[in-house]
């Protein structure tokens, strides 16, 4: 159990968006979080690396443990180096080259050794299945890549700081099916090294990629089980209805 959320409640100042969620994430597994729009899945994942606090008016009451340590008592900056995040729309830094983008997490945190930076950048780009496509144009601007490539660039950037956990908030929803398939492949590779939590509104993606799936509905955790079980014989009627498209 590498990451655990206990009694997690969160909101934006009004009625709570998440109501006392308990969820544990196992090491080197991919956990998918599914649910209809507005169920709180993006809010939940943003609580895990304390990005939720950045929104004005945000409230969070929870015990979140990373390797047993309470993250609410940690410096959020240090937490985010261990729990990285990839967002829905690719967001490479516009003023930086491909190389600088991938290296940004390390450079901004003080690493200046050129050789080590170059090694880290190559390693991350290889993990993100992007190295072969960009190795000859590392000095080009990050924005010169296609959408799918930009998202893989953002994944490489997040991997470069060597987090223990990587959170992905609907990483493929802005991408075409081929780009999506490539990213799903690389997630299955990456999970050998780190733990992944992926929020997705695409149930087939959750089925293809994840080991465990959590179903959230209106801020509550309805069911959390092995993905195969959820998709062949879910225990809760609401899970079944959502998965078979009867609502959502």
């Amino acid at each position: 159990m590498i990451l655990e959320a206990q009694a997690l409640s969160a909101g934006y100042g009004g009625p709570p968006v998440l109501k006392s969620i308990n969820l544990q994430f196992r090491e080197r597994e991919i956990t998918a979080i599914i649910g209809p729009s507005g169920c709180g899945k993006s809010t939940f994942i943003r609580c895990l690396n304390r990005m939720h606090e950045i929104t004005p008016g945000a409230e969070l009451h929870a015990r979140i443990l990373l390797d047993g340590r309470d993250v609410m008592k940690m410096d959020p900056v240090l937490l985010r180096r261990q729990v990285g995040m990839v967002f829905q729309r690719p967001n490479p830094f516009p003023t930086m080259s491909i190389f600088d983008n991938v290296a940004s997490g390390l450079k901004l945190n003080g690493l200046g050794d050129r050789r080590r930076l170059a090694e880290a950048v190559e390693k991350s780009l290889r993990s993100a299945a992007l190295w072969d496509e960009v190795k000859d144009k590392l000095r080009e601007p990050g924005l010169s890549l296609s959408g799918g490539q930009q998202q893989r660039l953002c994944i490489a950037r997040a991997l470069a700081v060597e987090p223990r956990v990587l959170l992905l908030d609907e990483p493929c929803s802005a991408l075409d099916p081929i780009a999506t398939a490539r990213i799903e492949e690389l997630l299955l590779e990456i999970k050998k090294e780190l733990t992944l939590v992926i929020v997705t509104h695409n149930m087939q993606q959750a089925a293809r990629v994840s080991d465990r799936t959590a179903f959230l509905l209106m801020g509550e955790l309805i069911e959390y089980d092995e993905t195969q079980k959820i998709f062949t014989k879910p225990s809760d009627r609401r899970t079944e209805d959502y998965i078979t498209g009867r609502f959502g």
Binding site: M203, Q204, A207, I230, F231, T232, K233, P234, T239, E240, D241, I243, T244, G245, R246, F247
Partner: protein
């Protein structure tokens, strides 16, 4: 709840499967009447239904494949479709068994009359098992399915009994050997029909509960 066109397709699949089951039941009845009423002409009724059953066999597999390819079904829908595929296969074999019974019955009807021993009882058990297994599919009734599974032993016992009785007959009177052999074959066919009905019932349990209860004794 969203109404789905997919639900209409699932309903159609179930309906065609149940129709196929009905035809199989009728085939068994006609086949047995060839023997009990000595009316070989009834084989036409059996043959015509066999054509329909074979057509349905192809049609149902086709429908199921299409639903899987196009809709990526999950959970209950997925279990329904995989159960339908398996039941389809079992029903087609039941049809074959009925045809075998009919053909054997035609031979028997040209021979001198023979005592039927437990064959009528076996017919009753096999057809009621088949009927109930299909009913349990239609109503998603797990209890009824379990009942069917429980009766399989009875049919096996009846078959062994019939086998022993006919063996004794053949040993005492050599002129009965041909007819007795035919009867043994018919008993074998009926026992196989009961096995298929059991399979159908096990598939129903999996479809409803998601539990696979095959290959060990249901308690």
């Amino acid at each position: 709840m969203i109404k789905r066109h997919f639900d209409d397709d699932l309903e159609a699949l179930r309906a065609r499967l149940l129709h196929m089951g009905e035809l199989c039941e009728e085939m068994i009845q006609f086949a047995v009447r060839i023997i009990s009423e000595r009316k070989p002409g009834l084989i036409d009724e059996v043959s015509s239904r066999e054509h329909s059953v074979n057509d349905l066999h192809i049609e149902i597999d086709d429908r199921a494949l299409k639903l899987i390819a196009l809709h990526q079904p999950a959970a209950g829908d997925l279990r329904l479709i995989t159960a339908a595929l398996k039941i389809n296969s079992d029903l087609e074999r039941v049809g074959d068994q009925a045809v075998n019974i009919a053909e054997t019955g035609v031979f028997l009807s040209r021979e001198p009359v023979m005592k039927l021993y437990d064959i009528p009882r076996m017919v009753e058990v096999a057809s009621s098992m088949l009927r109930h297994s299909l009913e349990s599919f239609a109503r998603k009734d797990v209890e009824l399915a379990r009942e069917v599974i429980g009766r399989d032993d009875e049919e096996d016992r009846l078959k062994s009994q019939t086998f022993n009785e006919l063996l004794g007959l053949m040993q005492s009177d050599a002129s009965t050997i041909k007819r007795a052999m035919d009867m043994i074959l018919i008993a074998r066919n009926l026992e196989r029909i009961a096995d298929h009905a059991t399979n159908i019932a096990e598939d129903v349990v999996f479809m409803v509960l998601g539990k696979d209860i095959r290959h060990f004794k249901a308690s």
